[in-house]
Every structure is written in C-alpha cells, then in structure tokens.
C-alpha cells in the first residue's frame, strides 16, 4: 500500500507515453475500425447491397479482397459497412444502459432507503435471467431490428452499472472528504455529481469496455439467428449466418466477418485490461 501511495504522489497524472502496451494496441485496433466504419464509402470498392448474379461465390483474389457472397456482393465491402452497424450497436448498447445505470446507482447508493431497496430488487430480478435470454425475449416481443435491439440491451444492461456504482457510492459516501464537503453545507446533488460520481466512475469505465464486447457479441448473435439487423443490411453476425449453407464451397463468406468481429473484440478487451491496470495505478 505504501508503495502505491508513493507512486501516486510521484505521478500526479498518467502521461500518454506511459500508457500500458495492451491499451495502446487495443486503442489502435478500435480506432482503426472506427475509421474504417466512418470512411466506409470511400475505402470500399463496391455498393454493399448491389447484387451481381453473374459473379457469385467468387473466391478472394481477382473478384475482390475477400471474394463475393452467394448473390455476388463484395464481402470486403460488406465487412466494412457491417462495422458501422456493429460499432453503433456496441456504442449505443453501452452508453444508454451506462447513463441509466449510473444515475440509478448514484441515487440508490447515496440516499438509500425504500427506493434503494426497491431498485435493488428490480436489479436482482433482471440479473436472475441470463443476459442473452432476456435480450432475446425482449427483441422477440418488440420485433427484430437495430432500434429494438438497442432498447433491449438498455433494458437489460443498466442493472450491472447500477449495482457497480451503488457499491462504490456506498463506500464513498462515508469517506472523510465527503463528510467534509457535507459539513461545509454544499447542496447534496452538487456533492453527488461533483464529488461522489467522479470517484465512482473508474470501475464503470473498465466494465463498459468488456460490456461493449458482450453487447457486440449479442448483436452479432441475434443477427446470426435472424432477430437483429434485417437484410439486406450488412452485419457481422448475419453475414456469418448467411454464409453457413455455403461453408463447404465458399468459406470466405463466413470467415471474414468472423475475423472482423474477433479483431474488434480483442481490441476492446485489450483496452479494458489496459484501463483496469492504469486506473488501479492512479487509484
């Protein structure tokens, strides 16, 4: 403990050149995907939904970097365009539950009482279901599509953030510095958002990275079983499923979206690891 305290005093802030290696690699991968997604129309050679029935199931090479699929669409183009959808699902599917969950957790943990008890029972009930099963059930009820998928992810995902933040807040609210500001007579909402929240956010940010991975996998998983993004829109999971009947003769249809999802997932978990290490140091 004393070592860490010394470290902290000797390094008031973390400099960019001292970022953990895995964080740097992760950031590079994720930023690369974000750039690809944003620049999709300019970096791809074709229209992602244009059929070419004269050039179906062409292997990677002359017909395109990653070949063509069962209706002659360029697989590389679709993998890149799919990143737009999958990244959006990952972003919206984390930000929304994060906002809801953090707010709920802050109030619940700081004020306690009956509202806290009620909220935590809701959290318990939601957590009693396996994540994927509950998302699946909600999407099945609302109807397939990206919008409904994000709603389902928000409805299920916020509970983890709420619980995480609540636990942190319950520790922080009794800390001496909080008692100090309270004694000084600051408004309790001011205390909550200015002093409690910033100190409770570290584990949330780390968790958000792993959560984004989970959310993208859920999006791809639902796409795979046909409840996610609807055709002809490209999405990694749906593309993997589309290629399944052709796996013996045209492996590239499924392989490349699969590799894309894996690389992005690895990028996210490296960031998660890196952030965890970094924030523990600065704690």
């Amino acid at each position: 403990m004393s070592e860490q305290v010394i470290e902290m005093t000797s390094r008031p802030g973390v400099q960019a050149d001292e970022l953990p290696l895995n964080l740097k690699i992760g950031m590079a991968v994720v930023i690369a995907w974000v750039l690809l997604a944003v620049l999709a129309p300019w970096v791809t050679p074709a229209d992602p939904n244009a059929l070419d029935l004269d050039n179906v199931l062409q292997p990677p090479g002359a017909a395109g970097l990653m070949g063509t699929d069962q209706v002659g669409r360029d697989v590389f183009t679709r993998v890149v365009f799919a990143a737009r959808i999958d990244l959006w699902i990952g972003f919206a599917g984390v930000v929304l539950p994060l906002l809801i969950g953090v707010t709920a957790g802050l109030f619940s943990g700081y004020f306690g009482g009956a509202a806290d008890a009620l909220l935590m029972r809701v959290v318990d009930i939601t957590l009693a279901f396996p994540f994927f099963v509950l998302v699946l059930a909600i999407v099945a009820a609302l109807g397939p599509g990206v919008g409904n998928l994000i709603i389902a992810l928000a409805l299920v995902g916020w509970v983890s953030y709420a619980r995480l933040v609540r636990a942190e807040v319950m520790v922080i609210r009794n800390a001496e510095y909080i008692q100090a500001v309270r004694t000084l007579g600051f408004n309790r909402f001011y205390i909550l958002f200015r002093h409690v929240m910033p100190n409770a956010m570290a584990p949330v940010i780390v968790y958000a990275m792993t959560d984004m991975l989970l959310v993208i996998l859920a999006g791809a998983g639902l796409g795979f079983i046909g409840l996610g993004v609807q055709p002809p829109t490209a999405e990694w999971g749906a593309m993997i499923a589309d290629g399944q009947p052709y796996i013996e003769e045209a492996w590239w249809i499924s392989l490349f979206p699969g590799l894309a999802a894996i690389s992005f997932g690895i990028g996210l978990s490296l960031i998660g690891d890196g952030l965890a290490r970094m924030l523990r140091v600065s704690n």
Binding site: L51, L53, G72, P245
Partner: protein, 509 residues
Amino acid sequence: MRISVMFLALMLTSIGSIASADESPPGSRPDIIRIASGSRTLTLDPTRSWNSGDIETFGQLYSRLFRRDQAGNLQPGLAERWEMSADARTYTFHLRDARFSDGTPITADDVRFTLLRMRDDPEALYSEPVSGVVDVVAVDQRTVRVMLAEPNVPFLDTLEVCFLGITSRADVENRGPGKAFTEHPVTSGPYRVREWKPGDRLVLEANPYYWREGFPRNGGAELIEVIDANTRIAMLLAGEVDAIRQLGWSRAESFRAQGKVSVPLEPANLIWLILLNHAQPPFDDLRVRQAAALALDRQAMARVVLRNLGRVANTTMPASLDHHLADFPGWPYDLERARQLMAEAGAAGHEVVINIAAPSPQMELIGLILQAQWADIGLKTRIVKMDQGQEVQRLMDGDYNASINWWYNENPDPDLALRWAVCGSCGNRAYYTNYSNKEVDRLIAEAAREPDPALRRVLYQRVQRISTEEVAQIPLFYPPWVNAYSHAIEGLGMTPALQWTLENARHLR
C-alpha cells in the same frame, strides 16, 4: 386423498411401462428408421391440415382406398375391386378384409364417415377433392357406393390423396376428434402412434393389423423435427438419423461429390412461386403483376438459388404433372417492358411487404433477389420473416402483398393442382391469392368431366396459358426433392407426392 390419488397414478404408469416393455421380447431390438425434417407435425387429423409436415405423416398413419406403387401407378388399396356405372357418376368399391390398429374391422361405414367428414366438417381445411360427392352409401359391411354430381375422370386418383386416409368412425365419435387424433389415434396405415411430442418428434410403431402382408419392413420410425438444416446435416453425418428432408439446394452438389451420404434428387410434383395478393394494391393491377414477373431474372435465380437442380417454371402448374404446357415460353426477363407497364399503372414507389416463413435460407435468398430486382422497376419491398404457422395464417387471412412459397400436387393429374392454385371458386381462393377468372373455373370443371385425354389436355393447357398470362402467381422453378439418406438403409425414398416410402425401408445388416 391427494397423495393417494398421486400414488395410484404412479402405480398405473409403472404398470403401463412394464406392460409396454413386455411387448418387445428381449434381445431383438426392433428396426427403427429415424428421419429428421424441417417441417412440423401440427396435427394427426388428415382433414385439418395441408401443412407439409403433416402431409409427410398422414400417409404413414392412414390407408386410402387406393395406393400408388413405386412406379407411380394406381393400385388397389383398401378397395380391392371397384365398378363404375354407365353414366360415370356412381362408383362401387369392394373393401378388402382389413383392420384398424385397434383390431376392429375397416368397414364401408368408416369409408362413408371419412369422405363425408372431409366434405361436411366446417373445420375440414381441404374439402375440394370430395366437393363433387353427392352421397356415400354403405351397401353392406364391405361395399360402399359413392354418388357424384357429375362425372369426374380423375376421381380414383383423387381417392388416393393422403387427406382421404380412412379413419375409424367409432373411435372419432366415441372420443371426439380432439382426443381421437392426439392420443394414440386409431390408424389404418402401416404405422400407429407410439408417442407424439409436438415440436419434437412423432414416434411410430408398426401397426400389427396393417393389411399389406409383410409391411412395414421395419419395426417403427421416428419423425424428428429439426428446424435448422445444419443440425439436420450434423445428425445425419453422426448417424443419429437415417435420412433428412431439405438438405438445402446449395449443398446438394458438394454432398453428392463427397458421397458420404446419398442425395438422389427425387422427382417432385413441385413448384416454387411467388404468391401475389390480388385483393390489395399494387398487385390488384394486372400491369403491376406483369411488371413484377418481367422484372425477375429467373434464369439467374435458378442458377444462384436452385443451383440449376431444376428448371425455371414456365406455367402456374408443376411440370411433372400430366398435360403440362411444355412449349409455352412463360415470362421472360424484360426490364424495359416491366418499367413501361409500371409507368402505365402509375405504381412506382409502392411499398410491398414480402412474407417469408423462417428459417429458410432458400427463401431468404429469393427475397434478397426479389428486393433488388423489384427495386429496378420502382417497387419498394420490405421482407418480413415469420414463423411457418404465422406465415400460413397471414396467407389465409389475406394479410400480405407477396409471399415466397411452394406447393406440390398429390397426384399426377392436373385436376386437384389447378383447383388448388388458380381456381377462384374452389374453396381456397386460388391458393389465397384472390385470383379469380370465371373462364378458368369453368374450364377446370369441364376438364374434370371430359373422358377424352386429348380434349382434357387442350382444356388444361388453356387454363395454364390464361392463368400464367394473367399472372395468377409468379412461377419460379420446378425443383426436385433434395433429401439425403444414409448408406445404411435401403428402400427409403420420397414419392413425387411428398410421401416417404417408409414402409419399404430397413437397415442393411
């Protein structure tokens, strides 16, 4: 009290299981044929369904007055002999000495009950085959007389269809159709039901009273529902099942080349098509239907989707049926004319909802191509994937614009086929498209009365020409059945009428 009742129930079930275990002598395991199909068994009552999963099972449970042999010829079934009156309106059938699976004799009264139940029961889904029956009389125990309103040339063929399997009057009336067709139905075919787990499997055992000597050649069968094609394939390769339905067109070639299983591409009375709802815009307008047909490059579709396993369909009727209009060109791919027709109709920009029964990679692929090719003529499309049952319901309710679909015919005669597909006054509103042309209906009725095959041919070909030109539906292609079989069995196949030749099947030892 509650406990003692439960105890009693437990005792009864244990006695039951001991009794059934006693039935098969130790040491000789019965030869069970296992088949995985993507189609569901929804009912065991032959009057209540035209769903493909049920059609696959009806024939295994119920014998008809006639049967079809391996070569496709009509043979005596429960009717040993028959006579037709001079005016061709009265048929007399002499039944053979046959029994139901509960050991009771199959009588003229049961035949009467079966035919009239199909005709009169308001819940009967497909009464068209017996719509011309005026009355059925049980002359004596084993003689039954059927009176028709007018001569019906294909009537004997019609009596062979799986929906007219003979059921036990005594049992259906005693237990009521609800119970009689769910809990161990009394059957007249090669099998009886050992256990039915809806949504999972139908377990069949040989019917000891089956009238065909020496059949079935196996001890029973399991019809297992496996919705996902990949799972079916994995099960077949692992030896968990002996045969699978619907291998998937994209896989037929590579599986044939590998040779690990047999993929015979069996001929089928089958047509894949797009149903259009004529009762709603935009497809109430003939020009839009024609444009929709002209905008499809069906040659390319047959190559990409069907992998050239079958031909492009040129008429509204399956090509394997008698009197198919083979030299008719059908609808070509002509984008320019299609656009012109769309402009004339002022229908560009219309949104069309296409229903698809999921999961079906083939239908989804067709949907994708439809979407792209109809976009070329300004038809916007939205593809809605739904459960098989829901898709059928929407179709029957007329709640759709277009539906990617298929149907098959029970026999090689065009009569039932055209009544099913293009007849507006034959009970199903021309396969729920609401297509209706009085002349077509009249020609179909006339052809059924016409004894001269050459004249019937002319009539049926006119029906095909008219209904195709009016785009009653958009015919796509004529595929074969693409089932896969293990090399460890023999005798199992599928007839053009979607019937497993299950009673002939056995494991090679």
